[in-house]
Symmetry: C2
Subunit: 351 residues, 2 copies
């Protein structure tokens, strides 16, 4: 049995789902993979100033939780109450226990990614692997972080940031190994897809957005989702990982769904077609990327991807098109994607 130490940063919806999942899956991971995955410390940035007056980053103090996995569900509540009682800092924990995996779940919207970057950077420097659901640090500093992982011989895995339970990177990097990916296109944002699906059933954009907000599918400020940014983030991370490039958001032409009105939807419905917010990458003289709503017909492989579902089609030279759809589109699905990445870091053989 291999013991794996976990430090969790970020205790929002996804972080909490991750703790619950570890509690639930601990015996399974031990039995199936021979991995004893132990949550050893938990940090949540919202309880601390992040940058001090001089502009330096100050890591919060946090509690260290030994073997939370062996506790019952109350442990999660205990974490909250214990949170500020111990005086260990993030760096102190990184440096005093055997390196394992930093799980980075800082998911607040409209961030620069600077805090997440600091956590990831320090973890890597201290020989910790990283799995993350936080897109911003990767969007802004992927190549820098990747270089750092190579230098320190650790892994950085980003399934949680690239459509989570829908496997995108695994498929592109492993299932399509040896092929050249010529283009890909995906429905990669569940919120905007939900809104478009409701509109197809007859709702106005405003009502559909409201419904999504009331169900917790859309944020109060929905811009990240409906204006195409979240899709663009994912396209960017896929492009930079798969093609080992260094693209930025400026390389992507981004258009959201806020201008889609009932007329456009009705016309599509009459033709037996659907409007979907697609993120695309293709090759002309060079690699091009865009995010935009598009009409797709019944023969399109993503035609059946409705509601909060997501999907992606990769077109390759030697394996033709491969499409993946589905994957739980909620915090539990995101947590499951984080756990998957942890398992795959440590598993040597999967035949």
């Amino acid at each position: 049995m291999q013991e794996i130490n976990i430090i969790l940063v970020g205790y929002g919806n996804v972080g909490q789902a991750f703790v619950n999942l570890l509690n639930e899956k601990s015996p399974y991971c031990q039995k199936k993979y021979g991995l004893d995955i132990r949550l050893r410390a938990l940090f949540d940035i919202k309880f601390s100033s992040r940058f001090n007056e001089e502009g330096s980053f100050v890591f919060p103090k946090a509690v260290t939780i030994d073997e939370i996995l062996n506790e019952n569900a109350d442990a999660i509540e205990r974490v909250r109450s214990l949170y500020w009682q111990k005086e260990k800092t993030f760096l102190n924990v990184l440096q005093t226990i055997e390196p394992g995996v930093l799980v980075e779940c800082i998911l607040s919207k409209n961030r620069s990614g600077k805090s997440g970057f600091k956590y990831i950077q320090q973890a890597i420097i201290n020989k910790w692997n990283v799995v993350t659901a936080d897109k911003e640090p990767l969007v802004h500093s992927f190549s820098e972080l990747l270089a750092l992982t190579k230098k320190n011989c650790v892994q950085l895995k980003l399934s949680g940031a690239t459509a989570a339970a829908l496997p995108t990177l695994d498929v592109a990097l492993l299932s399509l190994a040896g092929t050249e990916i010529q283009y890909f296109e995906g429905i990669l944002n569940g919120t905007s897809n939900y809104i478009l699906s409701e509109m197809t059933k007859g709702m106005s954009y405003k009502s559909a957005l409201k419904k999504a907000q009331s169900k917790g599918i859309a944020e109060t400020n929905p811009s990240l989702d409906v204006d195409g940014w979240d899709t663009a983030y994912k396209i960017l991370l896929l492009a930079n990982t798969v093609f080992q490039e260094n693209f930025t958001l400026e390389d992507i032409d981004i258009q959201g769904i806020a201008d889609i009105d009932e007329k456009i939807i009705n016309k599509a419905v009459k033709q037996g077609e659907k409007i979907k917010l697609l993120g695309k990458l293709w090759r002309e003289d060079k690699i091009r990327m865009k995010v935009a709503p598009e009409l797709i017909g019944v023969s399109h492989p993503l035609y059946g991807v409705d509601g909060t579902n997501k999907g992606i089609t990769f077109s390759t030279d030697t394996m033709s098109d491969v499409t993946v759809t589905g994957g739980k589109s909620d915090p539990k699905g995101a947590a499951a994607a984080l756990l998957k990445d942890i398992i795959n870091i440590y598993r040597l053989d999967y035949s």
Copy 2:
């Protein structure tokens, strides 16, 4: 640059496509993965008696081809003419060059898998990894071969035998790591799916079969495909690999498509539904498997999988349903799946 020696066994459609693919992809594999994949020897069982009068297996003699990858396309024809000129046996090659990967492409139908088993067994004992497109040895002796790989610290990869360019095992083992797969169902045989698709367009079973045969999609004796055996093989291999079980064909209830007539198809079409040959695994008191034609509606994730296309849906506890469709359904796609498995054996890190 890591040099990887390849021995290819079986020079039918898939074996030939594999040699062509290696020629085509050699520079790409060097640049992208740092792998110099060299075909060092080629054997084709049809040129030799396989079992002698005492019932012992006699490996054929074969030519060794150094660096065929650096030769031009004529090399492939040269292989044929050189075939019997050298006197090295399979065992001799296995034991005299640095172990790499045996690529097993013995694909003739209606075999017991005994010849393929002998090749795979000897390769593993001599510390060679194995990637295979040959289902029969795995159907009959998977657990024995798997135990042998563990003992000899090598890998046995079977993408080529489990729907090839459609990623099934990668997704089940890697993308869904940490989940429990509760059921899966797939359209896993391109030939029968092609016939059913043609019947949906109005053809009779006999005409559709004839058309498939004239296009090289169906064999002269189509039983393996249309009677559900090929689908059953794949379901069996997936079940035994994913659940580390030791099921046999007798555990699968198998029904083919030969009894599907125009009446049944017409009724389905009228209802907006389709008949598909599904291979299924689910859990009741224990794991159950069957292959049978079934009606599926427009909301089914495999509804759009027509022609020679394939697809599979995995239903999990923590990631919900994940569906994969597509993947080139021909010898080139199968060859690409073999190459993928080779790359993934040697690649240490894929973040």
